[in-house]
Structure formats: structure tokens, C-alpha cells
Amino acid sequence: MTEISKISLRNLQKRFGEKVVLNGVDLDIAPGDSMVVIGSSGTGKSVMLKCILGLLRPDGGTIQLDGNDIGTLRQRERNALLRHVGMLFQGGALFDSLPVWENVSFGLLGAGGISRRDAKDHAIETLAKVELDAPTADLYPAELSGGMQKRVGLARAIAASPDIIFFDEPTTGLDPITADVINNLILERVQELGATTLTITHDMASVGKIASRVAMLHDGKIIWSGNASDIDRSDNPYLNQFIHGEAIGPMRPDVSTTMPKETY
């Protein structure tokens, strides 16, 4: 590879007690790529993101953002790096004690050097980009529908014009039309910012729309990765089972934690 990766994972390992979740994940994302990671529920996609963001400490391996090994950064350097990173959480994770506009401008206010009035104006501009009107700015997250919360989460993720953005299941739990709207918003905003993105999803419509590259996580490893245009032509049985949503195939839904051993 000639170009330096924007995001690079090498042999990433993470387990919780006995349960091994990530078992040597290797992933490279080039600048400007829109990487989409797919995989069954519970394979550790969110855990992988949290490791990259420094929210979980990996048990092994290295993570590089922009060529910086985040495991060796000090708090101050890591915060400086995080100011160029946006994240849309799977559950929204909006601050429910703050009005929508303060949620959106939280990063800017935290970085300092901006008055609250300007921060609010900026929040209203950003909200317009996700098609929310100005009166929404003064509502609280609990007063919004699920789709509106996703939009606010999206606005918060892009507010500081980051050059790396993570989306954890941006369309899950939305009706197909709203999901498509969110996909379009992601596409437009990311193109506008020229950002590198890593999206996690199970939604194949989402993959078709926003992915330039696709990787599949299974059993703690990336078992397939390639251009988005190649996923239909792959002969990987896991990938084929996943993209066609079939119950029969090499993968079985993970039930081992919920079913006692004796019943086997």
C-alpha cells in the first residue's frame, strides 16, 4: 500500500472475561473511503468501534488514526485527535439534560473560543443540513421521535467538521423511507466534508447506498473485505449468507449464551 491509511487496525484483540469478542482484527481504511462493516448481531462491531475511539482498552494489537497509535497517546493528545472525529452512537446517546442545540454544539463549546450565541447559530445551521428546523433546537432529546434523534445524533457527529466519522447502525429501528433519508444525508454530508467514514450496519440497503468498501466481521476476525461493487460476485459463503439474509448456511445465530448446555 502506497498511501498511508486514515484508520488502521492490526491484530486487534478484545475479550470480556472468558468471552473472546475480537480475535485479531485487521482493517485498513484509506483517506476518503466509506468503509462499511457488516456482521451478525453480537459479533463485536460496536466493541471494535469503542476500541478505536478509546472507550474500551483492547487486550492486544494496535490502532492507528492518522498515523498516530492511539494506545500510546496522552489524554491531551487524544482529545486533540478526537476533535477531528465524529461519532453517531447506535442508541443515539444524546445528552438528555441539554437542549438539542447544545447537544449539536457540544464539541465546539467544549473546545472553547465560541460564545453560546454563536454556538447556537452554528447548531441551527447544522440542524438545517439534516433537515431539522430552527424550533427543534430548543427541544430536549426526550421530545423527539426516533428518526429525529438519529438526525440530531448525525448533526452532532458532523458539527465540528470532522475528517473521520463513525456511524454505528445509523438506520436501525427506522422505517425504510426514513432510513433512506438518513442514508442520503450521510452521503451528502460526508461528501461535503470529504471525510473518511466507518459505518456499521446490518442494513443491506444502507450498504448499497453509502459503501465504497465493505468488510465482514465474523468470529472475531475480518473474513472478507473488498470493493462495495464486488460483494455480489464474492464466493465467500458467509458473506453470501449474510447479504441474502438466509437462516441456512455456515453461520448459526449465536444462542450459546442464552441456552444452558444440558439442553443440547
Binding site: N79, A93, F95, G107
Partner: protein
């Protein structure tokens, strides 16, 4: 054998817990004072903890003072020393009952609220979101709460002291036949500065413990609504016990000769 193992295990987990609380307390103190300080959040907490606890603290102090005067009147009556009622009332309130009862009431209100709020933020990933927005959750959530509660509890207790003495005054003058001016003179004449100050020192320590336990249990909560419920209960129980234990320790430190 299994019993010994059980005792050993609980002892070890107790030690681990002590270690975790101490580290948490250290970080909390550091972030309460090291700049930058979030003044807005500090102000919010001062109002939430101080101002909105006033009714609770005032009411409990009023009733406690009244009951105290009645009981001391009965007790001193047995040895014919009823004139000591004002002195003993103000002595007990400033040194013990004011700080302890006010703090227990605030513990129920405030440490529960802190544990529930921070716990909900933890399980709904809002604390993770804070970190990705380059904001230290200790600085943003824990520091202002600990600092505000530590600062505001002495003020609350001072108000409680005054209202408690008033409760005693009303009981004594309305029901027990004391003259108002004599009651007030006796209250003031034998009151020492150290009575009040020791109570305020205790109040500051109790305030610290209340916020510490609320934040600690909230911060560590996991597993959804049930986890938050557990954190809230643990915060109230542990802060109440710690208040009573610390009261003993501080009293010994200040007054044992």
C-alpha cells in the same frame, strides 16, 4: 472451610471496593479543583443541591428542635435542672443533630439523584459520547457535583441550626412556659464558637461523602434500568452509613482529649 473461603472472598472484594472508592475520590478531588472549571455546571449543582434542599432540611430541623426541647425538659426535670434546656438544645443541634440529620436528608435526596442521573448517562452511552467529544466525564460530571455539595452543605446546616433552635424556642415558650428573652439569652450565653464550627466541618465532610457515593455508584452502574436502580439504592445506603461512621471519627478527632 467453605465458610472461611466465603469470608475471605467478601473481605477481598471489600478491599477491592475500598481501593476503587479511594481512586475515584482522588480523581474527583483533582478534577473538582484543577482548571478548567465548568462554572455553569457548578452553579447548577449549587442550586440543585443547596437551594432545593432547603425545605427538607428546614422542616426536619424545625421538628427535631421542638422534640428535643420537650425531651430535654422532661430529662432535666428529673434532676430539677430545667433551666439548662436552651443550652443543651443548642449544644446538641449545632454539634450533632444539625449536621447529621440535615446530611442524612440530603443524602436521600441528592446522592440518589446523582446516582440515577449519572447511572442513566452511563447505561445510555452518554458518558461514552462525552469522551468522544473530548470532554473528561470526571471534570464535567463528577467534579462540579462533589465541589458543589461540599461547599453548600455547611450553609444548609447553618440554616438548619438556626431553624432547629427556633423549633426548640417555640416549644419552650409556647408549651413549656419559658420566657422568650431568657431562652434566647441562655442559648447565646453558653454557646461556643467551636460548637458551630465543628458542626460545619462535619457538614463539609458529609457533603463530600454524599456526592462521592452518588457519583461513584452512578458511574459504575451497568445493565440498564435495573443497574441504575441498584446504583441508586447503594448510593443512599452507603452515603448514610459513611455519614454516621465519619461523624464518629470526626467527633473523636476534634473532641477526644
Amino acid at each position: 472451610m467453605t465458610m472461611l473461603a466465603g469470608i475471605g472472598r467478601s473481605f477481598l472484594s471489600f478491599l477491592a471496593m475500598m481501593g476503587a472508592v479511594s481512586t475515584f475520590a482522588g480523581r474527583a478531588i483533582f478534577h473538582a479543583f484543577a482548571p478548567p472549571i465548568y462554572w455553569r455546571l457548578l452553579g447548577k449543582q449549587l442550586i440543585a443541591v443547596g437551594y432545593f434542599s432547603l425545605p427538607v432540611v428546614g422542616l426536619t430541623a424545625l421538628f427535631t428542635g421542638a422534640v428535643l426541647a420537650r425531651q430535654i425538659y422532661i430529662g432535666t426535670g428529673r434532676i430539677g435542672a430545667e433551666s439548662a434546656v436552651p443550652t443543651i438544645v443548642v449544644f446538641s443541634i449545632t454539634r450533632e443533630l444539625g449536621p447529621v440529620i440535615a446530611s442524612l436528608m440530603v443524602a436521600g435526596r441528592v446522592s440518589a439523584a446523582m446516582a440515577a442521573e449519572i447511572g442513566t448517562m452511563r447505561v445510555s452511552e452518554q458518558i461514552d459520547a462525552l469522551q468522544t467529544l473530548a470532554t473528561n466525564p470526571f471534570k464535567y460530571l463528577v467534579g462540579p457535583r462533589v465541589l458543589a455539595t461540599t461547599l453548600v452543605l455547611p450553609a444548609l446546616v447553618l440554616v438548619g441550626d438556626v431553624i432547629g433552635v427556633m423549633g426548640g424556642y417555640f416549644m419552650a415558650t409556647e408549651m413549656l412556659g419559658f420566657s422568650g428573652s431568657a431562652y434566647i439569652r441562655n442559648t447565646i450565653d453558653f454557646l461556643e464558637v467551636s460548637d458551630v464550627v465543628s458542626g460545619l466541618v462535619k457538614a463539609a465532610a458529609f457533603g463530600f461523602l454524599i456526592a462521592l457515593m452518588g457519583c461513584f455508584h452512578g458511574y459504575r452502574s451497568q445493565g440498564g434500568a435495573q443497574g441504575v436502580g441498584r446504583a441508586t439504592t447503594n448510593a443512599v445506603v452507603s452515603s448514610s452509613i459513611l455519614i454516621l461512621a465519619a461523624n464518629y471519627v470526626i467527633t473523636e478527632l476534634l473532641f477526644a482529649q
